[in-house]
């Protein structure tokens, strides 16, 4: 479980993020020069967002596509934002919000049609098969466990305990009051524990 300190007390929506101090330099850099610093943004959040998309979709290549789309949308949005807005963004919560929307939009539409016109510059690098198998197994296990939870608990538990987001960030992503978020995380976790105990007894 996440052992990092989280802010106490009820904060208003989208403010006082736990790791704002860590993020501020990047936000300021993006405000100054988006093109020169966008690579840093991708490097900082790519792994966590990938785990998130992978858990939600259960599919490696779909997760990769969703995450690519997420960063491309982020870049286009940042291009339109002025320096002040870039500086004040809660980057992590903002990126998770975009990713979640991508997952939801994808779930709504039929299977994508692959367009292949002209140059395809994809870098097809295969990963170690054991690593891939281990990842698939972990994702499947987590999905099985979360599947037993009601939808309103699933996302808060996942964002808090797998992705390590703060309550404020989760509230921001899910667009709900922080109090609701906290209650759902605690309740969801309790349900998860009791179901696992029942599973162990059976």
């Amino acid at each position: 479980m996440d052992t990092r300190r989280t802010p106490q007390g009820v904060a208003s929506l989208g403010t006082a993020l736990a790791d704002e101090n860590v993020q501020r330099p990047l936000g300021a850099s993006l405000a100054e020069d988006l093109d020169a610093n966008f690579e840093r943004l991708v490097n900082r959040f790519a792994n966590r967002l990938f785990g998130f998309a992978f858990t939600l979709t259960g599919n490696h290549s779909e997760a990769e596509e969703i995450e690519q789309d997420t960063f491309v949308s982020a870049y286009r949005a940042l291009q339109k934002y002025d320096a002040e807005r870039r500086r004040s963004l809660s980057l992590r919560a903002w990126l998770f919000t975009i990713a979640l929307n991508k997952v939801r939009n994808r779930a709504r539409r039929p299977a994508p049609v692959e367009l292949d016109d002209g140059l395809v510059l994809r870098a097809d690098v295969l990963e170690e098969p054991e690593v891939r198998a281990q990842q698939n197994e972990a994702v499947a296990a987590v999905r099985r466990a979360l599947d037993g939870l009601a939808p309103r608990y699933r996302m808060p538990v996942m964002l808090r305990h797998i992705q390590g987001l703060s309550y404020d960030e989760i509230a921001h992503v899910l667009q709900q009051p922080v109090g609701t978020t906290k209650a759902n995380v605690h309740r969801g976790l309790a349900l998860l524990r009791s179901s696992q105990e029942i599973g162990a007894l059976a």
Binding site: V42, A46, V72
Partner: protein, 249 residues
């Protein structure tokens, strides 16, 4: 949901090449490879929209520095793309090219140049007429000399009105090699351009500029030369729909 699967999930990495893919899609990073071409090995670069550059350079570092200076973006070496780039050079007209760094005038020149069929040539003045700036012949020459994607956009097929080959973006001496590689006989082209204003093909209903015919496919005996449009029209011929000669003198 045991501790082990939580650990694996937390330590999960985005797939290899992920950063490259994202930066490429937003246009912050292009890819390049060293490619065999009719003028020897050249560096070819492309972004998502198509080929951006065809450039000879003494080594990869020199190419990367020049690329960055000219386009303001980084290019990353991807040798696995060499085959696709070779295909782009071979396709020429149908390959995707990215000309957004060019001025609207240069883009118009390059688009008109793309319509010249392999094995045929056009004078600079023809390009100038085609893009609606008949007097900008010299500017056409400059635009072609700075063609960012020679070979893919076939600037080697544009020659002087007297039939001399003229300048070339990849070096004047190489122009004849590329043209001959396509079956063009520069001497024959020059001879036709100097002897008659217009030519028709026996049994065909249209007359053309002397450079319209692929020099390697039509033996001289099948062509009829005309000194003026009037003469061609007296033979009952109409203007060619590819090279657009004038209707009346």
């Amino acid at each position: 949901m045991n501790d082990e699967s939580m650990r694996v999930l937390r330590e999960m990495h985005a797939p290899q090449g992920f950063l490259y893919g994202v930066l490429r899609r937003v246009g912050l990073l292009d890819a390049y490879a060293l490619v065999a071409s009719p003028v020897g090995e050249v560096y070819v670069a492309a972004g998502d929209a198509g080929v951006t550059a065809v450039m000879p350079a003494q080594d990869a570092a020199t190419f990367e520095a020049r690329y960055r200076a000219r386009f303001g973006r980084r290019a990353e070496r991807r040798d696995e793309l060499a085959a696709q780039f070779e295909k782009a050079i071979a396709q020429g007209r149908t390959a995707d090219v990215d000309l957004r760094e060019c001025t609207p005038f240069q883009r118009a020149v390059l688009e008109a140049t793309r319509r010249i069929a392999p094995g045929t040539v056009r004078p600079y003045a023809w390009i100038a007429r085609e893009i609606g700036h008949p007097r900008a012949v010299r500017a056409v020459g400059t635009a072609l000399a700075n063609n960012p994607v020679p070979l893919v956009v076939p600037c080697h097929r544009v020659v002087r009105s007297d039939g001399q080959l003229g300048e070339y973006a990849l070096g004047g001496g190489r122009k004849i090699d590329v043209l001959e590689g396509e079956g063009v006989d520069p001497d024959e082209v020059r001879r036709r351009m100097r002897t008659r204003e217009f030519w028709g093909e026996e049994g065909e209903p249209s007359y053309c500029y002397p450079y319209c015919f692929p020099a390697h496919r039509l033996p001289e005996r099948k062509l009829i030369g005309f000194s003026s449009v009037r003469e061609a029209q007296e033979h009952g011929l109409t203007p060619c729909k590819t090279c657009h000669p004038p209707l009346a003198a």
